[in-house]
Amino acid sequence: MDGRQYYTDRKDSEEIAVIEAKDLTKRFGKQLVFENLNFKIPDGEFISLIGPNGSGKTTLVKIMMGLEKKTSGELKIDKSQTIGYVPQFRNIDLDYPLDIEQFVRLNLKFTISPTKRRENNELIKTILAKTKLTELKDRPLGLASGGEKQKAYLAQSLLNDPKILILDESTASLDVEVKMQLMDLVKELNEKYNLTVIFITHDYELTKKYTSRALFFKGKTLEEVKVSDVSEDMFEMGS
């Protein structure tokens, strides 16, 4: 029943929204994080989520992932969409023991079936190739560079075959050149596999270059902004 409903929905709408918010509001106790957010994210879009620190970007993402509850309003996520999330911080120190391939494999489901195991091995190979990590797979993650680490995080989150990928400031600590490489890679996945990408960022240049639209936290609300209208002052911290 649910599936059929969803099929006709798809046919009727010109633009398929994979995520849609209506009057979405979140409070922590008495404190208002944001209220009445209204936006649509169509299938396959590469969109950025911008705004000052503490404006509610991560909270919104947590609600999308089901890690946090909304206070009121609606957040519809297409049921066929699995979400991959690349968090901002990871506890990976120099002594971190696992190599890159093993780190990516952490996200595999347990199985004793030999067929499933073979499939898993194939999947890992494909993902490592997709993220251009094949040659680096034996490097201990603790010794990998910032860009290599981000690629490993990305690879791990791709394991569940997500249709929506959320990048939480994944480029924040990287050199310009490495940033571009990572973003080129994400863009490639976005175009080749029609992956919807939500890119949380403080980076003006990257927003301009890679994303088609921005969701901009302004005060306690959210505005949908065309990328041509994105301006540098939207990235000013704490304003």
């Binding site: 023991p97 952490l106 989150s157």
Partner: protein, 265 residues
């Protein structure tokens, strides 16, 4: 040396202790809980003393205390700095309690020494059976939770992002840790059981880079330590704990040097 019944018992018990401690130790290290495992040993000491005082077995007292406190820790704040502080406060309290319980009970002080420092004599075959059952239970829990526990232990943030029940995993782990402390203390003593629960796991980290290999190396080092310790203790009549800790510490520094050597070559 196996001509002596007590050595046979000690050998079997140590083997099970080493396997559980080596296995659990990999996760103690990857979850940054070395400090907590140290504290749990001290709490275990108080538990054993309590067991003697009220007339249940020291092992039962230990399990009671370590289980309750590990679950309490699991529900404490996840903020690690606050956790460290509250853990050290709790640990001082429990050492004090342990000393109080011992002085209130009528047992001789040699009994206290055994709990604190471990002993290869005085493990009965009934106790060996209890240890084996507990050890098998711990191993069983690890087999069940192996995949998600590895994910959560080696990448907590990723595991949360992937929607794993990290709270439940954390409690399951703390329960096995509490049991391992109680099991291990029977031979190594509560003062040094954390040696087996942290050093082999930490050493393994410097030499191998997959979870199964980490477990193999850690269990291997832990077994080598207790077997060698038992043998040397038997031959020299020195305390077994000394040999075990000396072995594990040397192995740790060799591992560390190996890692540094590899980095420069």
């Amino acid at each position: 040396m196996f001509g002596y019944e007590f050595m046979k018992e000690a050998f079997i018990a140590s083997t099970f202790i080493a396997i559980t401690a080596g296995l659990v130790g990999v996760f103690v290290v990857s979850r940054n809980m070395s400090f907590l495992s140290h504290t749990l040993s001290e709490i275990g000491f108080a538990g054993a003393a309590f067991g003697i005082l009220v007339g249940i077995s020291p092992l039962a007292g230990m399990i009671l205390f370590t289980l309750v406190s590990s679950i309490a820790v699991g529900s404490l704040s996840t903020e690690s700095s606050r956790r460290e502080a509250s853990i050290s406060a709790i640990s001082s309290l429990f050492i004090g309690l342990g000393i109080l319980f011992l002085s209130l009970s009528s047992e001789s002080s040699s009994y206290a020494t055994n709990i604190l420092f471990g002993s290869i004599v005085g493990i009965s075959s009934k106790e060996v059976n209890q240890l084996m059952i507990l050890a098998l239970f711990v191993i069983f829990v690890f087999i069940i939770f192996y995949k998600p526990l590895s994910f959560d232990s080696f990448d907590h943030i990723g595991a949360r992002a992937a929607g794993l029940p990290t709270r439940l995993l954390s409690i399951a782990f703390l329960v096995t840790l509490a049991l391992s402390v109680s099991i291990g203390a029977q031979i190594v003593g509560s003062l040094l059981v954390f040696v087996l629960l942290t050093l082999p796991g930490a050493t393994a980290k410097y030499v191998v880079h997959t979870v199964p290999k980490l477990i193999m190396v850690s269990v291997g080092l832990s077994l080598a330590g207790v077997w060698l310790g038992l043998y040397l203790a038997f031959v020299t009549n020195w305390p077994v704990t000394f040999f075990i800790s000396a072995f594990e510490v040397i192995a740790y520094f060799l591992g560390l040097s190996y890692k540094n050597w590899k980095l420069n070559h």
